[in-house]
Subunit: 328 residues, 2 copies
């Protein structure tokens, strides 16, 4: 028996979300729809020019953990915040949904990381991330007992951006495997894959049991143009690969098994950001509960459909209830 | 000529909004729908038990200033934040909409004030305010040049709760009148009126040119049961009194003038909190632009109708555009 079904490790961020427009993105030299890393000076400068904003806890992996908790899963999280107001907010939002989060806050150095999110009238989100305290996550934050006590350790690809976090990432994977636990990863975004392609490929082939990637990410990983080529390339390279394709649903590969899972119809499509995080939450919940891969994939689709029906990257209703209604 | 049409002085707060339910309110001993003051220990204890939350700038008067700016008005704000993350957020949100906000942040003492808002499934909001740094607002923060440069100084009744802020309030009113400017006040809420009834009555009779009060507040101020009795009591006690009555609209009194202004039909009614703040914004904008009292009241109704059509206490669309469409 393990204490936790899932341990997530990621960049702990607070989202700062403001309405914007295409002209502003152009003026600021921002790639619409992308996620770019910015330093604190640039973050201050950009924030000063942004409109009024709303703050809420974010971070890709942390959002997955929120979905996992909403499904009824028993989860823990490792990530680095600063001992400041946003750090308090992040910790509150994590623990108040029942996710164990005990990584000590940094007492000095950069403030808690934030993601400046600019929403254009076409509902696209352009994200500028200032990692802040998240860059201070290091190997010493990887609680060996916690990794060993968790059935699956789930890592976000974005962790490859801060150098020390990357070391923490590898340490966590080693600890998990030494304890005969599973290691899962999401590639996070196609630009992140480009920044770290060789390392990601080596990882997938050597250390990863469960891989999550969307179409752009898996194409970038294998530098191919067709989805089917990417699918053939990844096959056999990790125990389970979950490839998500937005409205086309997902494809799940495991040895000789192959499942093509339909997307769940969404009540409305307001904001597609965060769908991948919730797909991972749903799939990993199904996996933790011993459901077959196709059913776990459907749980991922259900969680993703909920998140795209509203603004914001964390579930607004009980995912456990939705899954109960649709799957039982 | 004055530099600013409106100077608002209020408690600078960040709203921390979480979904809740009646059972939680009962367990925590909270009066549903009310606003209560809590100390930092109680705030920490309550926050620890609340669900995940979303943060955004708030404060009654600050919300009015946001509406005033959205209408196209030229405004300034005085309020006290701490030099912390929420203080930075509050200042950003104010200045990014074009409201001048130069009150220095406190470098020591309590953190930036916050209002813990619990939203129940019936869309009612129960507010617990920890004033924090707002209690540090004092007479020295009242910039005499700024008051003299503003056509109207608008004060929120909630300022009577922190003792030093009350002195700042009186100082601002004296400076404004000495410079032949107008002084406006909102009574803020009926419990606030109960806490400070005698002082409010003296103020209204001696210092206030423009009074805003909702039905519960004006009944409490004069300790009467009928709206018409309150109306007769306030008549002649200040230059202009705007009495708001939710779906019944508003009544505006000024000398022999009396206007009964209909509520503007709202596209939908999601959350009635903040309607009074936006009514004041609309009325004061019309007043600043030299519109007649009935038209100024209609502007108040339009601004209030916008705010109750969504969650959140600040306008989501341009109020200037709405007023242009409906009044011209």
């Amino acid at each position: 028996m393990t204490q936790f079904d899932l341990l997530g490790i990621g960049n702990a961020l607070v989202d700062v979300v403001a309405q914007s427009n295409d002209g502003f993105l152009t003026d600021q030299g921002l790639d619409k729809g992308g996620m770019m890393l910015i330093d604190p000076d640039r973050a201050s400068q950009l924030y000063a020019h942004m409109g009024p904003a709303v703050e809420s806890s974010g971070g890709s992996c942390a959002n997955t953990m929120a979905g996992f908790a909403s499904l009824g899963g028993n989860g823990a999280y490792i990530g680095k915040v600063h001992d400041d107001v946003f750090g308090t907010v992040f910790r509150h939002d994590m623990t108040s949904i029942g996710v164990s989060f005990t990584t000590p806050a940094a007492g000095d150095g950069d403030p808690t990381g934030r993601c400046l999110v600019l929403v254009t009238p076409d509902a696209q989100r352009t994200m500028c991330t200032c990692l802040g305290a998240a860059t201070a996550l290091n190997e010493s934050d990887i609680d060996a007992d916690l990794v060993q006590a968790s059935a699956v350790t789930y890592l976000e690809g974005y962790l490859f951006d801060p150098p020390e976090a990357k070391k923490a990432f590898v340490r966590a994977a080693e600890l998990a495997h030494a304890a005969d636990r599973k290691v899962a990863i999401t590639l996070s975004d196609s630009f992140c894959v480009e920044r770290h392609r060789d390392e990601f490929r080596a990882l997938v082939e050597q250390h990863i049991d469960i891989l999550f990637a969307n179409e752009a990410e898996i194409l970038s990983l294998y530098q191919v143009d067709k989805f089917d080529d990417a699918l053939q390339a990844v096959r056999g390279h990790c125990e389970i690969a979950c490839l998500t394709r937005s409205e086309k649903g997902s494809v799940i590969l495991s040895g000789d098994e192959l499942h093509v899972v339909d997307a769940e119809p969404a009540s409305k499509i307001i904001d597609s950001t965060g769908a991948g995080d919730q797909y991972a939450a749903g799939f990993l919940y199904g996996y933790a509960k011993g459901r077959d891969l196709a059913t776990a994939g459907q749980m991922g689709s259900i969680a993703a459909a909920e998140i795209i029906s509203h603004y914001g990257a964390r579930p607004e209703v009980s995912l456990a209830k939705l899954v109960q209604e649709k799957i039982g």
